[in-house]
């Protein structure tokens, strides 16, 4: 029997190593950003738009990119949600009897998930030319919205798939229509999972450079209309990091902190709200 105990120990040890290295990696990424960026974070950085000479290390901040990124990803999430939620509900309620069709949809979505975001960027660019719109917040929202949709749908689909069959059947058995089962039972039952899917998509959307590179443009002004070009944080990081001036490079790290913290704040607060809501369930 000694080898079974040994096996147990070896596997346990391997698990410890993988957990430890994962945590170490995460900490390394966060620490390197924070150590380099924290000294350069200032109120000016988050409260002001770039002034003349900002990119040469003079005064100003990245408020334009902060606001732009929030607008862009919120818009993209809402746009994507408008398609993702009905699709995932339909896949799990209305198309329940057509398992083959549903599996095909899942397959297509998985492929879409795997496509690099630069391809979505290029597609968005083509779409813009076709529709005759210029690089703008709107074009960015559409592109990012398409890009994050597979992530959102599959995230929601995965939790809806796991709702017990009995629950759905008993909802039907009291005479609910499919619509009533979808919105009064399925939706309520899966709210935490849906929130997670939205957050996942939001995180991907707000952090992506390639899809907004051609489509959203960049400007030092605050966005005032969806037809104007808009700055985004990932691009701000990208531009500043590419500067030869050390002062500006450091600000790239500070911008990265801002991006990370935004994602963190949004995840935590949304999770708290959904937890509170889940208690009512």
């Amino acid at each position: 029997m000694w080898w079974r105990k040994l096996e147990e120990k070896i596997v346990y040890f391997m698990m410890l190593i993988s957990v430890a290295s994962l945590v170490a990696l995460l900490l390394a990424v966060l620490l390197s950003i924070f150590i380099k960026g924290v000294p350069y974070i200032s109120w000016e950085m988050i409260s002001q738009t770039p002034r003349g000479g900002y990119y040469f290390g003079r005064e100003g901040g990245v408020l334009n990119a902060i606001v732009g990124s929030l607008y862009l990803s919120t818009g993209a999430v809402l746009l994507s949600l408008a398609f993702s939620l009905p699709l995932s509900l339909a896949m799990n309620i209305h198309l329940r009897t057509r398992r083959k069709t549903v599996n095909r949809i899942r397959f297509v979505l998985d492929i879409l998930w795997g496509i690099p975001s630069i391809v979505y960027g290029a597609f968005g660019f083509t779409l813009m030319i076709y529709l005759g719109i210029q690089a703008s917040l709107l074009a960015g929202i559409i592109t990012v919205g398409i890009f994050i949709m597979p992530i959102m749908v599959r995230g929601m689909d995965e939790v809806m798939k796991n709702v017990p069959v009995h629950l759905i059947e008993s909802a039907f058995s009291v005479g609910s229509t499919r619509m009533e089962v979808a919105f009064r039972v399925m939706l309520r039952q899966t709210i935490p999972g849906i929130v997670t899917a939205i957050l996942l998509a939001f995180g991907r959307g707000i952090g992506d450079v390639a899809s907004v590179l051609f489509t959203t443009g960049y400007t030092d002004n605050l966005p005032t209309s969806i037809t104007q070009q808009t700055a985004t944080l990932p691009l701000a990081v990208f531009f500043q990091l590419g500067s030869p001036i050390p002062e500006v490079q450091n600000r790239a790290y500070a911008s990265a902190i801002i991006l990370t913290v935004i994602i963190l704040i949004i995840s935590i607060s949304v999770r708290m709200i959904s937890k509170k809501y889940h208690k009512i369930i």
């Binding site: 329940r96 009897t97 057509r98 398992r99 017990p164 009995h166 629950l167 759905i168 059947e169 008993s170 909802a171 039907f172 058995s173 009291v174 005479g175 609910s176 229509t177 009533e180 009064r184 039972v185 309520r188 039952q189 208690k279 009512i280 369930i281």
Partner: protein
């Protein structure tokens, strides 16, 4: 025995999943205001038969049926009427309790709202009535707005019964409703069936012989998708006609 009226009549019912035949030429008459028990080992098609009656089988892809299920003179298997309305004539109690993700009150009110009853003033007395009917009222009267998931399993099952009763069904379909429950909760449910049969027709699926003996008026014995024997409960247990039934009753199965 008193005169029986047939509430639900299953005639020449066959059911296939793909090429596999699950139900084979089923003929059963279910008497009104009685407890009819469908008895049989696991996998004999009891649950499928029950799901065919309220058309839940439609939700599983690939099911094909032939035959008739007549409820109040209407063939509900082939009706073109809204299936949701057909389903409301039957309350389903499944093997495990399935409270909806909402409060105790709203679980019962769910069915009422589907029937178009709105507003707390109208809903409250009805919710109370059905919770009393399911013998749960005294335990939950002070916490109607707690999530249903906080109830014990036995209470949840009675809540599901109340929810089913709230749509005002004529038939109660119970699919091994006590199999996940402790003996006390199980006997509460069983006793409830005794009372409910005054107003409802009850169809109970079980593989527990003692349960069938305790509460059945009529017993239908199924095996491998076929009805082997159906008879009045005393007749069934004391004087079974078929050899298979006798074997099953002696526990010599299979």
């Amino acid at each position: 025995m008193a005169m029986e009226t047939t509430k639900l009549s299953i005639q020449n019912l066959n059911l296939w999943f793909g090429k596999q035949k699950i139900l084979n030429n089923i003929n059963i008459d279910i008497p009104e205001n009685k407890v009819t028990v469908i008895l049989g080992p696991s996998g004999c098609g009891k649950t499928t038969l029950m799901k065919t009656m309220n058309r839940l089988v439609d939700l599983q892809g690939g099911a094909r049926t032939s035959g008739k299920i007549i409820l109040d003179g209407e063939d509900i298997l082939n009706t073109r009427r809204d299936i949701a309305l057909v389903r409301q004539k039957m309350g389903l109690l499944s093997q495990r309790p399935t409270p909806l993700p909402m409060s105790i009150f709203n679980n019962v009110a769910y069915g009422l709202r589907l029937k178009g009853i709105r507003g707390r003033k109208k809903l409250t007395p009805l919710v109370e009535k059905h919770l009393i009917e399911a013998n749960l009222w005294d335990e939950v009267r002070d916490r109607l707005h707690d999530p249903a998931s906080r109830l014990s399993i036995g209470q949840q099952q009675r809540l599901c019964l109340a929810r089913g009763l709230a749509v005002d069904p004529e038939i109660i379909l119970a699919d091994e409703p006590t199999s996940a429950l402790d003996p006390i909760s199980a006997s509460v449910i069983e006793n409830q069936f005794f009372k409910l049969k005054e107003n409802y027709t009850i169809l109970l699926v079980t593989h527990i012989m003692r349960q069938a003996r305790r509460i059945a008026d009529k017993v239908v014995f199924m095996y491998l998708g076929e009805v082997i024997e159906q008879a009045d409960v005393h007749e069934f247990f004391n004087n079974p006609k078929q050899k298979m039934t006798r074997d099953y009753l002696q526990g010599a199965f299979y």
